[in-house]
């Protein structure tokens, strides 16, 4: 019922500007995120200003995110030990959840299960109350590498995400999405001439162009340099606030998790070991509160673990 109502509401809103309030090119600094578009992309803005912007808070109530529920989910590969062993996790619609854990703890496997790329070996996996059966058009994945098709231009790559739309509409949407990530001027370039950060921004545009209700991020910023990373984090946060999708970020960077997520989930030995609400206000600044959450999670991660043995030295970046 409720989702049908939302659907109708979305349709009457019509077009992209209605769908993504705040407009792609508002020159006034966003009151909630506290930074302007110029800061986010390092480019000067110069587009039309949308007149009737709905309030950001109202927007978030009208969340079109997808809820995800996992009950006693088990996954093993071949005859090996279970990668995920009876994992329980409930993600509310519109929530931004970060999943952290040591390398090989199963966090990427979890993301692949939710995406529908792999099937669980046991347990229940629900998207909006319905069992997950393969890939669905409302779920988009951003990978660690951008995975752009080198033989398509930037714009054609983004159009790939608008699958199922008419040619003209898809093209328009692709332009709009590229504008959101500040790359509309590179629309006709080949991906091979872009920098790593730009490629990831194109990948983000491609993920967003189909108006996803669930965005899965598999360490998408892992290969970027520190500055580009901060820029991308802000961009992702802002777009998530504007569009209200559910976001699930897999990362091994605890600082990144605390900076972006409503909730940080630590996975250890295939199960949830820590589930922490990050109650900091947005935009997040690296103050004592931030450090507190970061330390709590890190301490828990680094707790001496008998069973892990020699794995104590792991790759964590802070």
């Amino acid at each position: 019922m409720a989702s049908a109502f939302r659907q109708a509401k979305r349709e009457t809103a019509g077009g992209l500007t209605g769908d993504w309030p705040g407009g792609p090119w508002t020159e006034t600094p966003d009151r909630q995120s506290g930074f302007s578009r110029q800061e986010a992309t390092g480019r000067s803005a110069g587009g039309p200003r949308t007149e009737d912007e709905p309030d950001e808070r109202e927007r978030k109530n009208d969340s079109r995110g997808l809820a995800v529920t996992l009950r006693r989910v088990v996954k093993r590969f071949g005859d090996g030990p279970a990668v995920l062993d009876g994992l329980d996790l409930t993600i509310r619609a519109g929530q931004f959840v970060a999943i952290v854990g040591r390398s090989g703890c199963g966090k990427s496997t979890l993301l692949r299960l939710i995406a529908g790329l792999d099937a669980p070996g046991g347990g229940e996996l629900l998207r909006d109350g319905r069992p997950v059966a393969g890939l669905d058009p409302y779920t988009r994945v951003m990978f660690q590498d951008a995975r752009l098709l080198p033989w398509l231009t930037v714009e054609e790559n983004v159009t790939l995400g608008a699958h199922g739309l008419g040619k003209r509409e898809a093209k328009e949407k692709a332009r709009e999405a590229l504008r959101l990530v500040g790359l509309e001027k590179r629309a006709r370039d080949w991906p091979s001439v872009l920098s790593g950060g730009q490629k990831q921004r194109v990948a983000l545009a491609r993920a967003l162009v189909g108006n996803p209700r669930l965005l899965l991020l598999d360490e998408p910023l892992g290969a970027l340099d520190a500055l580009t990373r901060i820029e991308m984090q802000r961009l992702i946060e802002r777009l998530w606030q504007q569009q209200g999708f559910t976001a699930l970020l897999v990362t091994h960077d605890v600082g990144e998790a605390v900076a972006l997520a409503d909730r940080v989930v630590l996975i250890e030995r295939g199960a949830v070991a820590l589930d922490l609400e990050i109650t900091l206000a947005r935009p997040r600044v690296k103050d004592t509160g931030f450090a507190h959450f970061e330390k709590r999670i890190l301490d828990r991660v680094l707790e001496p673990d008998d069973r892990a043995g020699g794995r104590a030295e792991t790759a964590y970046e802070i």
Binding site: L117, R140, V141, F143, R147, W151, L152, T153
Partner: protein, 269 residues
């Protein structure tokens, strides 16, 4: 000083690849004119040119050229299509690969020119035998490179295509085939070389027309100028097909940093 030299260099750069062939021809002509190189051993370039004009006017050269080109291209099309289809099929379907790959690998290792005696018995000395041999020679490089190209498409891109809702057909059309294309074109270039080689050998050994036959016939009458003309023709034909392959690379792989210009922009569609 340096600047003018660089400018001069830039202007004449396109001619650079031609300096060596031209130099060779000039020296060759000089050696012949001075009598150092007997025309019984090697005709001079002028004599060869004269032969070319003579044979063109008599219609023999255009006819041979047409016949040979037709055989080469027909054989190439047949063999190339078969190789491409098998490469595609075996790259996509495990069962097909299990069934056919080892047989193809066995046949591949037979030098196809060793089959000439058999081919003469089967087809006589007409077109069919030559087309058969060309097709056989061309099949394997295309097959191997198509298969390899499809195998080496980044699985991450295929997974991405699935996540973004591409169906089976669209996945092949938009991800797998373009990804395999660089490798397929390498096979194509290689196959074009084999195409001419096979045809020339086959025409030289058993034929009643074509460039290879023209060369053999000329040898019987000791017309060395015609023999040399034929050899030069092979060089030109080989170069022509290589240019063709390069042109295809440039237009099909313009996205590739190695082939296209980095800043290449396509006109808005």
């Amino acid at each position: 000083m340096r600047g003018t030299f660089a400018g001069l260099f830039r202007r004449f750069e396109p001619l650079l690849p031609w300096t060596l062939p031209v130099l060779v021809i000039v020296v060759w002509q000089l050696l012949g004119s001075l009598g150092i190189l007997s025309s019984r051993v090697m005709p001079t370039p002028v004599q060869v040119a004269e032969a070319a004009v003579r044979l063109t006017l008599s219609g023999e050269l255009p006819h041979s050229l047409a016949v040979s080109t037709w055989r080469a291209l027909t054989g190439f099309l047949i063999g190339g299509s078969i190789g491409f289809l098998f490469g595609l099929l075996n790259g996509v379907a495990r069962l097909a690969e299990k069934l056919t790959d080892s047989s193809i690998q066995m046949i591949r290792n037979i030098p196809h020119l060793a089959m000439i005696p058999l081919v003469i018995v089967w087809f006589g000395i007409g077109d069919e035998g030559k087309i058969f041999l060309v097709a056989l020679g061309v099949l394997f490089p295309i097959y191997l490179n198509t298969l390899h190209g499809i195998r080496s498409v980044d699985p991450g891109l295929i997974e991405m295509g699935r996540v973004y809702g591409l169906g089976r057909g669209a996945l092949y059309r938009r991800v797998i085939l373009p990804g395999a294309l660089p490798s397929i074109l390498v096979g194509l270039r290689y196959a074009l070389g084999i195409m001419w080689l096979t045809l020339i050998v086959a025409e030289t050994i058993s034929s009643k027309d074509g460039i290879g036959y023209m060369a053999m016939n000329a040898r019987e009458f000791f017309q060395l100028d015609v023999v040399v003309l034929c050899i030069l023709l092979y060089a030109l034909l080989g170069k022509a097909s290589d240019l063709m392959a390069k042109g295809l690379e440039r237009s099909w792989l313009k996205w590739h940093p190695h082939f296209g210009r980095q800043s290449a922009k396509r006109p808005a569609a």
